[in-house]
């Protein structure tokens, strides 16, 4: 197949980096043909930085004129499903930024369109390219750790100051981002969690608003979860703690895995024994030593990150290879986040798959209250102060 002609819709922090990388030829088999942004300042940036690339103000025009084969969507979150659906329906291959959207209902509709379209649809889950996550997933799914007992992930090293939250009017709002830490910082973690273990079936969460910052969304969350098998999980995140912790633990019936400080440590039962068998047959109250072996796996190669996902997307279009992060997978992490919000609002266990309408009512209420508050305060849609370096920030990698 010929080189894929690509357009990036939304050239803010993320989109300008994607556009620059494709433009410089860093994505194999893909060239940057067009960009689209409604902000004149961003259009001017594109004109000076990406000579020769067509610039659109309205994505409808771009889609209608068809100068490209593939679309990368990097707009504010609520627009993701809207643009993705239109692009897929019009026969484009699409890669969307995370999160897939801000409410499960519209993402479900997007996934239905994607399934019908037959086009390649990916999502920018760049942390899936991390070799340690891949190794843990491979080992767990191969059965090395046995069946899941519990999964515990504390990822509280997302520290942000108040200044961060003051830097953009859409940031950390129900209308702009659809929530706080669970929509902006943690979508990668929520995805990696379900990517490794599969989805839980019920969730109880506390994610109170404004614990650490002067904002109207949550800046921390504690999610308790249970799987169909009866296995359990706990997920803890926050932007208000420093230095914070990033420690993932998976306990299984054949041993446990801990990821911390950029290292994966597996402690496995010798001879692949299942602890449940020992529990039943052992003739002592607690065996003095359970024979275990330890394996320490360091991360030797860099994660390929955003470029890895872009290359994977390009290859999928050109060669039909399977995607590392299919776009339809975006619904899983989002379901956990939405379920957490619903659980917080109603202080109860919430089952998955999520009752999308129940969550939509909660979201609408919060969005409306926020609009009224902003109007009362005489706020206008102030412009976001971005970095626009056209580079991928170190911050977007897995950080230990």
């Amino acid at each position: 197949m010929n080189t894929i002609r690509a357009a990036v819709i939304g050239i803010g922090n993320m989109g300008s980096a994607h556009a620059s990388q494709i433009y410089r030829g860093n994505v194999q088999g893909m060239e940057l043909t067009a960009v689209c942004d409604c902000d004149p300042g961003r259009q001017a940036w594109a004109a000076s930085t990406l000579p020769g690339v067509r610039i659109y103000e309205d994505y409808h025009e771009l889609l209608a004129e068809r100068p490209v084969d593939a679309i990368v969507v990097a707009t504010p979150h609520p627009l993701h499903p809207v643009i993705v659906m239109e692009a897929l329906e019009q026969g484009y291959h699409v890669l969307t930024e995370k999160p897939a959207g801000i409410d499960v209902g519209s993402v479900r509709r997007m996934n239905e369109v994607a399934a019908r379209s037959g086009q390649v649809f990916g999502i920018m889950y760049n942390q899936r390219t991390n070799p340690l996550f891949q190794e843990l997933r491979r080992r767990y799914q191969k059965g090395d750790l046995g069946e899941l007992i519990r999964f515990t992930w504390t990822v509280t090293n997302w520290y942000r100051t108040q200044s961060y939250y003051d830097s953009g009017s859409w940031r950390a709002t129900w209308n702009g981002e659809g929530g706080g830490v669970l929509m902006n910082q943690s979508p990668h973690n929520l995805d990696i969690w379900q990517w490794i273990t599969g989805m839980p079936e019920r969730i109880y969460a506390r994610c109170p608003i404004a614990r650490f910052h002067d904002i109207h969304v949550e800046d921390e969350a504690e999610i308790l979860a249970e799987y169909g098998s009866g296995a359990t999980a706990v997920f803890i995140t926050s932007t208000g703690e420093f230095p914070g912790t990033n420690r993932l633990e998976l306990s299984g019936t054949r041993g446990k895995a801990v990821m911390e400080n950029g290292r994966l440590t597996l402690t496995l039962m010798e001879g692949d024994q299942d602890i449940r068998l020992i529990t039943r047959s052992e003739r002592a109250s607690m065996p003095h030593s359970l024979p275990m072996r330890t394996e320490v796996i360091e991360q030797h190669e860099e994660e390929s990150g955003h470029l890895g996902i872009l290359n994977d997307f390009s290859a999928a279009i050109r060669e039909g290879t399977p995607l590392l992060a299919p776009g339809t997978d975006g619904i899983y992490g989002l379901s956990i986040a939405n379920a957490a919000y619903l659980s917080q609002a109603e202080n109860r266990w919430v089952s998955l798959p999520l009752d999308a309408e129940a969550y939509e009512r909660v979201l609408r209420q919060r969005q409306q209250a926020e609009q009224e508050r902003q109007q009362a305060a005489g706020m206008r849609g102030a412009q976001h102060v971005g970095e626009y370096t056209g580079e991928y920030s170190e911050r977007w990698k897995v950080r230990w």
Binding site: T279, S285, M292
Partner: protein, 388 residues
């Protein structure tokens, strides 16, 4: 009474009591002498006659032991339900008393015990919270309560290295039943952690807990627990425990405004911030900037004296008024946490502390009424050295 020597009688010489008896009898505790033991089981009395010095009086009942004029203090090491009643009886007999953990099974009975203790300020009443002698926990207690590091933000304790086999649960008819023990891992293995949690971090005001009964073993009580907690000043946390994980984890993390403490696998790591994060958050002018800080070399002081340390402090308190490791009346706090977790799980929603104690007892009694008799009991004194 001559208080230059504490002459102790041990009520209950099963797993725990027999270990205490042996250590006291061989003179590990200076100023304490083992003068009597009591156990309803003939096999345990036979053991005492064979293994303990001939001078030790062996009784069948607690009443007989308390009536022995050579006894001036008792150690209660019988199944949990009986702790408060025996402590009350000992205090009424004018005896100093130290009780094994937990203080009891439900807080109602422990309130009664504490009221009796208040009536006897002249007597020493202590709890066997031996893990409070661990220099790591002492250090964490000091650091958190010094005020130097600001308020607590988060407390996470994963304590899943309590692995037990089915054989363990089969050893003892009272073990891991609602009627005999009043709960599972929370009542038997975790009283130490629940006590340390409140000792170091203060009492939570709300818990949300979910558990599984008999998930990893053929038992009717919980062997897998996940709890979310909230503290009065807004701190939050989780407490996760199980007797089915192997190898399991013991990792206790406390995040404060100016420090992060982690005790993982008996190693304490401390990170100290140069500024209070709460102030930094609102004064920093860049969104992604982080406060400065550094790891600190922690110097731990003293030996990890465990049971002997608690017994020594109990003895010294009686003789000279030296401080106890754990006051008897503090036993109610960890039990309150444990009861609140059970109640939250039974009701399926969060529970505020203090909770409705009558409701708790009603719910517990429902389970005691249908508690199933064990069919495969192996009377056995387990060797649990080094596991508590």
């Amino acid at each position: 009474m001559d208080h230059q020597i504490v002459r102790i009688g041990i009520i209950g010489i099963g797993n725990m009591g027999s270990g205490h008896a042996e250590r006291i009898a061989r003179g590990d505790i200076s100023g304490m002498e083992l003068v009597a033991v009591a156990d309803e089981r003939e096999s345990r009395r036979d053991w005492a006659r064979e293994q303990l010095p001939e001078t030790v009086h062996v009784y069948e009942t607690a009443d007989e032991l308390m009536a022995d004029p050579s006894v001036n203090a008792v150690l209660v090491a019988v199944p949990h339900y009986q702790h408060p009643a025996l402590v009350i009886k000992a205090l009424q007999h004018g005896l100093h008393v130290i009780s094994e953990k937990p203080a009891g099974v439900y807080t109602g009975q422990v309130q009664e015990m504490n009221k009796e203790a208040e009536r006897h300020p002249e007597l020493t009443f202590a709890m066997m919270f031996n893990q409070r002698t661990n220099p790591i926990y002492i250090k964490m207690h000091e650091m958190v309560n010094s005020g130097d590091y600001g308020k607590i933000k988060r407390v996470n304790w994963i304590i899943t290295d309590w692995y037990r086999t089915q054989h363990y649960y089969n050893s003892g008819s009272w073990r891991a039943t609602w009627a005999g023990e009043g709960g599972g891992v929370l009542l038997n293995q975790c009283p130490h952690q629940l006590d340390l949690l409140q000792w170091i971090c203060g009492m939570p005001v709300r818990v949300m807990s979910y558990m599984h009964e008999g998930k990893w073993h053929d038992i009717e009580v919980e062997d897998d627990v996940t709890t979310y907690m909230e503290f009065a000043d807004g701190a939050t946390g989780v407490f996760i425990t199980s007797t089915g994980d192997a190898p399991g984890t013991n990792r206790f993390e406390i995040d404060l405004e100016r420090a992060k403490l982690v005790c993982d696998n008996d190693q304490l790591t401390v990170y100290e911030l140069d500024v209070n994060e709460r102030e930094y958050c609102y004064t920093a002018t860049e969104g992604f900037k982080k406060p400065d800080g550094h790891y600190v070399d922690v110097v731990l002081e003293g030996e990890n004296t465990q049971h002997n340390g608690v017994l020594q402090a109990f003895t010294d308190h009686i003789i000279s008024g030296a401080p106890l490791i754990a006051e008897g009346r503090e036993g109610i706090r960890g039990l309150t946490l444990s009861n609140a977790m059970h109640l939250s799980h039974w009701l399926g929603h969060p529970v505020e502390i203090p909770f409705d104690e009558d409701l708790y007892l009603k719910e517990l009694n429902k389970r005691r009424a249908t508690s199933r008799a064990k069919t495969t009991v192996v009377e056995d004194v387990a060797n649990l050295d080094g596991t508590y």
